[in-house]
């Protein structure tokens, strides 16, 4: 054994352990640092801040932490508009979520039945309205619900018997209308995602099922659907979180000719009113906390019920 060989044999492992133990550790921290700053400043920070404000009162323009006790919550939850905003949101969720999940599942399974130019074209047509959101979406919706200008005038007039947009755009119909609007703008993206997930199912599984005598319906419901379950759970969580925060739709749809709408239709609108019309940031923060809690509880119920993050937790 020569001297140089010895040096090589001892030095190399030392250098390697030093690198793999120390430098990746430091580098990884540098890689995540900017994100952690944003996470604290725009995610965790505002959440904690809202929590603090919700228990604070303002005296002479200066916030007094923890001086309000639960009074902000009492103010928000006993407001005469609070009950109806929650009721409106629940009605909307009860329609929008089943409509979204069933519609997206149905369409992605149907599209996946055949891969040809027709299904590809249809998939693209479903996908493109995802480009529309917020005021533009409400604008289009108002036109679509107006029998006088809508391309669906035949359906609205002859089948459903509506003559004027104000007969359709009225508060009683809002949960359904908002659900239709949400489906129009949101379904295509999820269809593409579900479609991608369906593509990931191995052919062997499908062929085995066909040999075992599965018909198309059984194949879709018993084989394909369970295999894309994580995506279904994921859509449930995100549409739930998205739907809880309805704001632009109820704020703007009342602009339709002849229709009226309460300025406080959704909890989010009420929160906005507390903050910017009444200057009561404490009560607004209490409402924010309520929405956050609803969002977190809803997400965790769905995660627990579907084992959504099993793979990630397992990979830890």
């Amino acid at each position: 054994m020569t001297a140089s060989e010895t040096r090589y044999e001892t030095a190399a492992p030392m250098a390697r352990t030093a690198k793999s133990k120390r430098s990746p550790f430091q580098a990884a921290h540098l890689f995540v640092l900017p994100y952690v700053v944003f996470l604290l400043a725009f995610g965790v920070g505002p959440g904690i801040y809202a929590l603090l404000v919700s228990f604070s009162k303002t005296v002479g323009g200066r916030p007094q932490l923890f001086q309000a006790g639960l009074s902000n919550y009492v103010t928000a939850f006993t407001d005469f508009r609070f009950g109806s905003t929650i009721e409106n949101m629940l009605q909307f969720l009860l329609i929008a979520i089943p409509m979204g999940i069933i519609g997206v599942l149905l369409l992605s399974l149907l599209l996946h039945e055949r891969k040809n130019w027709f299904s590809t074209t249809m998939r693209t047509i479903y996908f493109v309205p995802g480009a529309v959101a917020g005021p533009a979406l409400v604008l289009i919706a108002i036109f679509m619900f107006d029998p006088n200008v809508s391309p669906f005038d035949g359906l609205l007039r002859d089948v459903l018997g509506y003559e004027q947009v104000r007969e359709i755009v009225r508060e009683r119909n809002f949960p359904l209308l908002f659900a239709i609007i949400a489906f129009f703008g949101g379904a295509g993206g999820w269809i593409a995602i579900f479609y991608g997930a369906l593509n990931g199912i191995s052919n062997e599984i499908v062929e085995a099922a066909i040999i075992d005598g599965c018909n198309n319906l059984q194949l879709a419901l018993r084989i394909k659907m369970p295999l894309i379950r994580p995506y279904i759970a994921y859509m449930l969580i995100l549409t739930f979180a998205g739907n809880v925060q309805l704001f632009a739709e109820p704020q703007l749809i009342g602009r339709a000719p002849g229709s009226t709408v309460s300025a406080y239709w959704s909890p989010n609108q009420l929160g906005y009113a507390f903050a910017f019309e009444l200057g009561n940031f404490g009560a607004a923060a209490a409402l924010s906390m309520l929405l956050l809690v609803i969002g977190i509880v809803g997400a965790f119920i769905i995660i627990r019920a579907t084992n959504l993050f099993r793979t990630e937790a397992g990979g830890d």
């Binding site: 920070g45 149907l110 249809m122 047509i125 959101a133 391309p151 295509g188 632009a248």
Partner: protein
């Protein structure tokens, strides 16, 4: 010999039968018709509103009522509607469009620059705080974002950024979903052996990311850019709360101002402005068109991106 016979029979099948076979596959005729009808019906549901939007500015306001909904008026009317729109607030529409572009692209660049390295590190290295960051990311990702808008306003107010572009750009650049996607992507598609090999060859951690991680992440970058762009292009509640100077509005806020302050969608609203339904439709079209074009070309990123969510069989 048997093969030869089989060959002959398949050739004898007449073309109509073969076409029939190809169309129907394993479906019965009634199943096939139902399949076709359902897909076409939804095709109309998703397709007609946008086609209508494309055609509406080609007509005058009264023509929207008198002509068939999907008819085409004339090209001149697009220009007329555009000129009418520019009367509003001294050409505010162009300013709003530029604002939208500026906010959206700046947020996009910052968010991608932040989330890709973060997702990479979370997927490839085990370091102190990793679990906390992952869980916090998952939680912030599924929160109703607008619940944070009011506290964000207070925060921005405290640092005197309210009513500046940064009050919209910075919160929008926080993109936990992007970090999560990047994490999943690198965890699934970047073999650790590859990184180990690079380390043995003397690559620094930055070089590993630059020359191994990033080149593998092209699909991911496309998907992230797409998601960030579409989310922020249509951003409404955040700028609505943060900005009250109409000079700073983005297009969604501008459209809201148009809808509220003119007879854009409500013909009974009394105003002297020449902004009526065709002008409103044109504004909507100008907002939708850029994203719609991006959408048509990025569908494959979304579809292939779904696989990064990884059904592990």
């Amino acid at each position: 010999m048997t093969i030869h016979v089989l060959d002959l029979t398949s050739k004898r099948q007449n073309p109509v039968e073969r076409l029939y076979q190809r169309l129907l596959g394993n479906m019965s005729l009634s199943e096939f018709v139902l399949w076709l009808l359902v897909l076409i019906a939804f095709g109309l549901f998703f397709g007609l509103p946008l086609i209508w939007l494309l055609l509406a500015p080609s007509k005058l306001d009264n023509e929207l009522l008198s002509l068939p909904p999907l008819s085409f008026g004339s090209f001149d009317n697009y220009i007329r509607a555009w000129n009418n729109l520019n009367v509003y607030d001294d050409g505010a529409l162009v300013r709003w469009g530029l604002n939208s572009l500026f906010y959206t692209l700046t947020s996009l660049i910052i968010s991608v620059a932040i989330s890709v390295p973060a997702g990479y590190a979370l997927a490839t290295a085990k370091f102190a705080g990793r679990r906390v960051i992952l869980w916090t990311t998952l939680i912030t990702m599924i929160l109703p974002g607008s619940a944070l808008v009011l506290p964000l306003f207070l925060e921005m107010n405290a640092v005197r950024l309210v009513n500046t572009p940064w009050s919209v750009i910075l919160p929008a650049a926080f993109f936990p979903f992007g970090v999560y996607l990047a994490f999943i992507y690198f965890a699934n598609f970047l073999p650790n052996d590859l990184l180990s090999a690079g380390r043995v060859d003397g690559c620094s951690e930055w070089q590993l990311f630059r020359y191994i991680g990033l080149p593998l992440a092209r699909t991911l970058l496309g998907l992230l850019a797409f998601l960030s762009f579409t989310a922020n292009w249509n951003s409404y509640f955040l700028p609505f709360v943060m900005l009250n100077n109409s000079e700073l509005f983005n297009l969604p806020l501008g459209l809201k101002a148009l809808m509220a302050g003119t007879s854009a969608i409500n013909p009974t609203f009394a105003t002297d402005l020449p902004i009526k339904r065709p002008e409103a439709a044109l504004t909507g079209l100008l907002m939708v068109l850029p994203v719609a074009i991006v959408f048509i070309f990025s569908q494959r990123y979304v579809i292939s991106g779904a696989l990064t969510g990884g059904i592990k069989e």
